[in-house]
C-alpha cells in the first residue's frame, strides 16, 4: 500500500569540498516522526541512530541506575522472544544493534544490510518498543551491572569522576552516579525498569538520523513502522543547575602508583554566542592535539605525564570546563602546579596570533574528516539535533570558527578561565598535594 508521505528536502551545499557530499534531507513521516537523512547508496547498508533526551538524569534518587539497566536490557528479549532467541535472530540477519544510556540521553543504533533491512529494523523496533524485561534476563543483567560497579569502585578514574560530580552538583541528578550504586541497583525490580523505559523513550524527546542506502520515500513509512508505537510523552526533564564546587583540592586516598587528577570549573553553554571563541581557546589550551599548551608544558617539556587534556563539556543541564592528567605519586603535585599556572596565564594574556591561526587551520581542516562512515555521520546528525543546531550547521560551522578573533579569545579567556575556582580531585597517594577540604 502506498501511503502519503510528506518529504521536505533541504539540500545543503557549502564551501568545504569534503562536506559537499553531505546532503541532509529532512523527512517527516505520515505519522509525524521527523528524521534527518543522508542518502549514501554506494554500499548496501543502512545506519540508524535514535536518541532520547533525558538519560540517566531521569532516575529518582532511590532508583539510581534504572535507566542504565533498562538500556542494557533492551537487547535481552522482546515479546515472546527470550534473550537468546532475540540475539540469534539478530545474528541470522547480520544486524548490529547498540543500546546505551548516558547522563543526558538514551541512544539506540542499528546497522543493517539493505537486503534485509525491513526484517532487521522490525527486530530493532521490537527491542525498542516491546522489550520483555523478563525476570530471568533482569536478574542476569542486574548481576552484570553490579559487577561493573564493583570494578569501578577500585578504578581511580571512576573514583575521581564520581567524586567531582558529588562535589560540583550535590543533590542535583548530575551529582549522583548515573549507573547507580551497588545498593540502589540491587534494590531495583523489573517494574522499575518498565517505568524507566516509559519515562525515557518517548516521541516528545526523540531525535532520529538515518544514513545509507535508503531514499526519503522509503524512509517515511519505515519511521512510522519502527518508531510509531513509542509513547507520545515521557517524564519531565530535570531542572538546569550549575557546577558549584569552590576552588581547591580534594584528595581521595587510594593505594596505586600513579595519581589520577581531574579538574573542573563552570563552563559555557553550547548556544552561548561566545561558545566558538571558548572552543578555539580550549583547543589551544589543552584540546586533543599534540601541540596544545598543556601538552607542551606538562608532557613535552617536563615529561610529567602520558596525557593531559582540557575539555568543554556543555551537558544539557549544566556546562563544565574540565581536564584530566595522570602522573606518578611524587610528580602529580608538579603537574597540577603547571596546569594552574597555564590556566592563569591564558586568563590574563589570552593567546597569540600564531596560536589562533594554527588552531583555526586544524579545527576547520579536521571537521570534514569526521564525516567518514555511515554510523559516524548518523551520530553527528543526531548530536546536532539534540543540541538544537540548525540543519545548515555543517555548512556554517567552519565559518563560525574562522570568525573568532584574537580579541574574542582574550575577552572570553578573561571571564571563562577562573584559576581561583578550579577544583582538583586527586585519586592516589599524591606526595606534597594538600587537600583544602
Amino acid at each position: 500500500m502506498i501511503r502519503f508521505l510528506a518529504v521536505f528536502v533541504f539540500v545543503l551545499w557549502n564551501a568545504f569540498p569534503a562536506l559537499a557530499g553531505i546532503t541532509i534531507q529532512q523527512v517527516t513521516s505520515e505519522g509525524g516522526i521527523k528524521a534527518w537523512l543522508v542518502q549514501e547508496p554506494s554500499i548496501p547498508i543502512i545506519a540508524m541512530e535514535v536518541s532520547f533526551r533525558g538519560g540517566t538524569s531521569l532516575d529518582a534518587p532511590a532508583k539510581l541506575g534504572a535507566t542504565n539497566l533498562m538500556a542494557g536490557l533492551l537487547e535481552e528479549g522482546t515479546g515472546d522472544m527470550d534473550a537468546a532467541a532475540f540475539l540469534r535472530r539478530t545474528e541470522e540477519l547480520a544486524a548490529r544493534f547498540t543500546f546505551d544510556a548516558g547522563r543526558d540521553s538514551v541512544t539506540v543504533t542499528a546497522q543493517v544490510l539493505r537486503e534485509n533491512s525491513g526484517r532487521a529494523l522490525n527486530l530493532f523496533k521490537q527491542a525498542i518498543t516491546k522489550p520483555a524485561f523478563n525476570d530471568v534476563a533482569f536478574a542476569r543483567v542486574q548481576s552484570q551491572v553490579i559487577s561493573i560497579l564493583q570494578s569501578n569502585s577500585t578504578d581511580p578514574n571512576e573514583i575521581a569522576y564520581s567524586k567531582m560530580d558529588e562535589i560540583g552538583f550535590g543533590n542535583h541528578p548530575y551529582g549522583r552516579p548515573g549507573e547507580g550504586t551497588i545498593e540502589t541497583v540491587s534494590a531495583l525490580k523489573p517494574a522499575d525498569i518498565r517505568l524507566a523505559h516509559a519515562a525515557a523513550m518517548a516521541k516528545d524527546r526523540m531525535f532520529v538520523s538515518v544514513v545509507g542506502d535508503i531514499s526519503a520515500q522509503e524512509l517515511g513509512p519505515m519511521l512510522d513502522e519502527v518508531l510509531g508505537d513509542l509513547p507520545e510523552t515521557g517524564s519531565p526533564l530535570p531542572e538546569k543547575t550549575t557546577f558549584s564546587a569552590t576552588g581547591g583540592t580534594t584528595v581521595v586516598d587510594f593505594d596505586t602508583p600513579q595519581s589520577v587528577a581531574i579538574w573542573a570549573q563552570p563552563g559555557i553553554e553550547r548556544d552561548d554566542p561566545d561558545f566558538f571563541a571558548a572552543y578555539v581557546m580550549n583547543h589551544i589550551l589543552g584540546g586533543g592535539s599534540f601541540s596544545s599548551r598543556l601538552t607542551e608544558e606538562v608532557r613535552e617539556k617536563r615529561g610529567l605525564t602520558y596525557g593531559v587534556y582540557s575539555y568543554l563539556a556543555p551537558y544539557d543541564l549544566a556546562p563544565i570546563f574540565g581536564g584530566t592528567v595522570a602522573s606518578a605519586n611524587d610528580r602529580i603535585g608538579q603537574a597540577i602546579d603547571v596546569i594552574r599556572a597555564e590556566w592563569k596565564k591564558m586568563a590574563e594574556q589570552g593567546v597569540t596570533a600564531a596560536e589562533l591561526e594554527a588552531a583555526k587551520k586544524f579545527l576547520t581542516g579536521d571537521y570534514p574528516l569526521r564525516f567518514d562512515g555511515n554510523s559516524r555521520i548518523a551520530s553527528i546528525l543526531t548530536g546536532m539535533q539534540i543540541t538544537d543546531l540548525p540543519v545548515d550547521y555543517i555548512a556554517t560551522r567552519n565559518q563560525q570558527v574562522e570568525a573568532v578573533t584574537l580579541e574574542d579569545v582574550k575577552r572570553v579567556a578573561g571571564y571563562l578561565l577562573q584559576p581561583e575556582n578550579l577544583r582538583f580531585v586527586v585519586v592516589g597517594k599524591p606526595a606534597g598535594v594538600e587537600a583544602t577540604d
Partner: protein, 448 residues
C-alpha cells in the same frame, strides 16, 4: 593487464610485471628499494589515510632492551635534518590532519588522516623521518619519563594489565612474545639515545616498510608520489632475518593466582599456545577463528555463554578470543567471570566441562551457519570503514601474509567445516600448553 603495465612504463617506473596487482579496489606495487605499496580506494569523500608500517615490533628487540621499539615510536615525533622537534605534528595539525602511531609485538605503524590533496606533504614528511631522524639527549630523556608515565597509566595502575603481563611471561618460556610491548619498567628506565638510534638505523628503512594509502586516491598517482619520496631512500643493509627463538615443548600446565587490593571483580583466563595464519596455509587459523566465535564470541548465544551464563548461572560473563595475525604462534584464550556465590574453581570446572562436551558433540549446524552469515555481512560493513581495511592490510603484511592471503581469508573462513573446528580445537586444547590465571582481590577482602 598489459594496458595497465604500459601505463606504468609511460611513467618510467621500473615496476616488474609481478610487482603490481589490482583487484577490486586494492592495488599493490613494490618499489625498487624494496618498499611495498598498497592502495585502497574509497572515493566517497575527499579524505585520505596515509600509513607507514614497519616490519619491526617489540618481539624483535634484543634481550635486556625491552620497550625500545615503543620508545622509538615516541621519538619519531622529534626532529629531522629538515624539521625541528614537534614540527611534524604541528604541520599535520595546521593542515587539519589527525595522526598517531602504534607499536605491537610484530609491527610499528604511523598514520595521518588528511584531506586528499595533502597526501604529498604527508609523504614528504614521513619519508624524511624514515631515514633522517635526529635525536638529542634533551629530547630523549623527558620522553622516556613520558613512556614511564604511559606504563603507569596502562599497566601499573591496572591490576588486570599487570595480571596479563605476568600471564604472557609465563606462556612463553623462550619466545619474546612473553615480554611486554611497553617494556619492563626497569629496562625502560635504562634505555638510552644510543639504543634508540641503533634500533632506528637497523629497522627504519624502505626495505622494511609497507606504505598503505587508503581513501580518495588513484593508485597511479600514489605510486608516482611514492617513487618520488620513498623510492629515493636507501635501504637498510643490516636488516636481520625475522627468526625469533621458538618455544620448546611445554611439558606441564602453568597456573597463576594473581592477587591485588585493587581487583573489583575476580575472573579467570586460560590461554593455550595456538598456530597463527601462515601464508598459503590459513586453514587451521580459520578453524580457530570460527571456534572462538562458536565458543564465546557472542555472549549468550555462544557455547560458554549459553551453558555457563544462561543454563548453569555460574558466570556473569564468558568469552573466547583468538587473533591469528602474527609472525609466530600466539594463543587461543577463554575467559570466565564467575557469578556471585560461584568460586573461580567451580567456574573453571564448569568451563572445562563445557569445552569437553563441545569437543564430543561438535558445533551446532545452525550456529555455524549464523556465524558464516555474519562473516559474509562483515565484509560489506567493512567497506564503510576504509581505515579498518587499511589496518587489515598493514597488520597482515607485516606478519608475513601476502595480499592474496588477506583477500582469500573470507573464503577460507567460509570453507571451514564442523569437523575442521573440532579437529583444530583438539589440537589446541592441550593442557600442557596452557596458562590458567586467576585474578583475585587480597585474601582478607575475598571473604567479604
Amino acid at each position: 593487464m598489459f594496458k595497465q603495465f604500459a601505463f606504468l612504463v609511460l611513467f618510467t617506473f621500473s615496476v616488474p610485471a609481478a610487482g603490481f596487482a589490482r583487484q577490486d579496489f586494492v592495488t599493490s606495487f613494490r618499489l625498487d628499494n624494496g618498499m611495498e605499496v598498497v592502495v585502497l580506494e574509497d572515493h566517497r569523500a575527499p579524505i585520505v589515510t596515509h600509513m607507514v608500517w614497519y616490519k619491526v615490533g617489540a618481539a624483535d628487540e634484543v634481550a635486556g632492551k625491552s620497550g625500545i621499539a615503543h620508545f622509538l615510536e615516541h621519538l619519531m615525533f622529534k626532529g629531522t635534518d629538515k624539521m625541528a622537534a614537534g614540527e611534524f605534528s604541528k604541520i599535520v595539525a595546521a593542515n587539519g590532519g589527525s595522526e598517531n602511531a602504534f607499536t605491537s609485538l610484530d609491527y610499528t605503524g604511523y598514520f595521518q588522516r588528511v584531506a586528499a590533496d595533502r597526501l604529498e606533504l604527508m609523504m614528504e614528511m614521513e619519508a624524511d623521518r624514515m631515514r633522517n631522524l635526529r635525536l638529542t639527549e634533551e629530547e630523549v630523556l623527558p620522553e622516556r619519563d613520558v613512556v614511564l608515565e604511559e606504563r603507569n597509566s596502562r599497566t601499573e595502575n591496572d591490576p588486570g594489565a599487570l595480571f596479563s603481563e605476568q600471564r604472557s611471561a609465563l606462556q612463553y618460556f623462550n619466545h619474546p612474545y612473553g615480554v611486554p610491548i611497553i617494556g619492563w619498567k626497569h629496562e625502560v628506565s635504562a634505555l638510552t639515545l644510543e639504543d634508540a638510534v641503533a634500533f632506528y638505523k637497523t629497522y627504519y628503512a624502505p626495505n622494511n616498510a609497507i606504505l598503505v594509502v587508503a581513501g580518495d586516491v588513484e593508485p597511479w598517482d600514489v605510486l608516482a608520489l611514492a617513487e618520488q619520496y620513498y623510492g629515493v631512500l636507501a635501504p637498510s643493509d643490516n636488516l636481520p632475518p625475522r627468526i625469533r627463538p621458538q618455544e620448546p615443548p611445554h611439558l606441564a600446565p602453568v597456573r597463576a593466582e594473581f592477587r591485588d587490593a585493587r581487583v573489583g571483580t575476580p575472573y579467570l583466563i586460560r590461554t593455550y599456545l595456538a598456530p597463527n595464519r601462515k601464508s598459503g596455509d590459513q586453514k587451521q587459523a580459520a578453524a580457530l577463528t570460527i571456534l572462538a566465535e562458536l565458543l564465546g564470541g557472542s555472549g549468550i548465544t555462544s557455547v560458554l555463554g549459553k551453558e555457563l551464563q544462561l543454563e548453569q548461572k555460574v558466570a556473569l560473563n564468558a568469552a573466547s578470543f583468538y587473533g591469528g595475525v602474527s609472525v609466530d604462534p600466539q594463543t587461543f584464550g577463554v575467559y570466565v567471570v564467575p557469578a556471585p556465590g560461584t568460586t573461580l574453581a567451580q567456574a573453571e570446572a564448569a568451563m572445562d566441562a563445557s569445552i569437553a562436551k563441545f569437543l564430543d558433540d561438535g558445533p551446532d549446524a545452525e550456529h555455524l551457519a549464523r556465524i558464516k552469515t555474519q562473516i559474509r555481512a562483515s565484509e560489506i560493513f567493512a567497506r564503510d570503514d576504509v581505515d579498518g581495511y587499511a589496518r587489515r592490510y598493514g597488520a597482515g603484511l607485516t606478519a608475513g601474509l601476502t595480499i592474496q592471503d588477506i583477500q582469500d581469508w573470507p573464503d577460507v573462513l567460509q570453507s571451514v567445516t564442523a569437523e575442521d573446528v573440532v579437529a583444530a580445537a583438539k589440537d589446541v586444547f592441550v593442557l600442557n600448553n596452557s596458562v590458567t590465571g586467576w585474578l583475585m582481590p587480597l585474601k582478607e577482602e575475598a571473604s567479604k
